[in-house]
């Protein structure tokens, strides 16, 4: 399970809008801090952590939507939703593969052969699911999404 990051610059007496901006920007950075690991694909925790951070970011954006101008907000929200969904396709397969690998150890040798076939099938699906994720990262870089997102949500104190 992932734990929430400590968010600096928020306080009960500060304005809602200032805190909303601070939270959104913090979660954005937290999400992107796992991007390199997610691209490498060796440690499945990176995809998990990036998706969890994207969900926290979306939860914040859902709650604070009324603090922002509708149209630019909607565009940024949709992009974050795409990130969550694309990461989710990979993460769901990681969860299944890990579970079946653990379950296989409790079965007879004959039964393990069946499960190995299923694991290989899921590993192929995982490789296929990684392609849209990697393509999305390239697209985000090319469209300068990060600059636009951070400029829109930057904190004005």
């Amino acid at each position: 399970m992932t734990t929430a990051i400590e968010i600096k610059g928020i306080a009960p007496d500060k304005s809602m809008e200032t805190c909303a901006r601070q939270i959104i920007v913090s979660f954005y950075h937290e999400m992107m801090s796992h991007k390199t690991g997610a691209i490498e694909g060796e440690n499945i925790k990176c995809v998990h952590d990036m998706r969890a951070a994207s969900r926290r970011l979306r939860a914040a954006m859902d709650n604070f939507a009324n603090c922002f101008q509708k149209e630019p907000f909607k565009k940024h929200y949709k992009q974050i939703r795409t990130i969550t969904r694309t990461m989710g396709a990979v993460r769901d397969l990681d969860v299944l593969i890990t579970r079946f690998q653990n379950e296989a150890q409790t079965l007879t040798e004959t039964e393990q052969v069946d499960i190995q076939g299923l694991i290989e099938h899921l590993q192929q699906k995982r490789e296929a699911a990684r392609k849209p994720m990697l393509a999305l990262f390239i697209e985000l870089d090319a469209s300068d999404f990060e600059t636009q997102f951070l400029t829109f949500f930057e904190v004005h104190e």
């Binding site: 399970m1 929430a4 968010i7 928020i10 306080a11 009960p12 007496d13 500060k14 304005s15 809602m16 809008e17 805190c19 909303a20 939270i23 969900r55 926290r56 939860a59 914040a60 859902d62 709650n63 604070f64 939507a65 009324n66 603090c67 769901d92 969860v95 299944l96 579970r99 079946f100 379950e103 296989a104 079965l107 007879t108 004959t110 039964e111 393990q112 052969v113 069946d114 499960i115 076939g117 299923l118 099938h121 899921l122």
Partner: protein, 154 residues
């Protein structure tokens, strides 16, 4: 997955604390909107939606926690426990779907390993569902919702 309920009545110029009091009761309400479905174990989608709503409430409570004292965190711990039990139910549902689909596409083989896991997962799913119902019932008897709303309003 159901969309989150829209938060209304927010005051961007008001304080963070003032707005916590507006946001959180609406998030609690979203969770309880799924309560009507929990007594049917076959309502997979609705149980999953309840889990997602609990997760949204949990994340919201985490970043609004600065507005509250330690008691608030005890409620957060209970919500995480509920989310985990519902997560186990959902994981079992996904595993069952995966195993069944794989079996259907490999009808020519015996696949005893797949059969063993289907039987085991069904049993686990039932146990997890009963655990959830028991926990939910216990929380209802303890007036969890009312107490949570009181903490939020404090």
């Amino acid at each position: 997955m159901a969309k989150p309920h829209k938060i209304t009545g927010l005051n961007p110029n008001g304080s963070y604390h003032e707005n916590a009091l507006i946001i959180l009761p609406q998030k609690v309400q979203e969770v309880y909107s799924w309560e009507q479905f929990i007594h049917n174990p076959e309502q997979r989608e609705e149980l999953h939606n309840m889990r997602i709503s609990i997760k949204r409430l949990r994340y919201t409570m985490e970043f609004l926690a600065i507005n509250y004292d330690k008691k608030f965190h005890d409620f957060l711990t209970t919500l995480i426990e509920l989310q985990d039990i519902l997560g186990d139910i959902h994981d079992n549902d996904v595993v069952l779907e995966t195993l069944t689909e794989y079996k259907e596409n490999h009808e020519t083989s015996t696949l005893s390993g797949i059969e063993t896991l289907i039987a085991r997962t069904r049993k686990n799913r039932n146990t997890d569902y009963q655990t959830f119902l028991k926990k939910w019932e216990q929380l209802s008897q303890e007036n969890f919702k009312q107490k949570l709303l009181e903490i939020i309003a404090s």
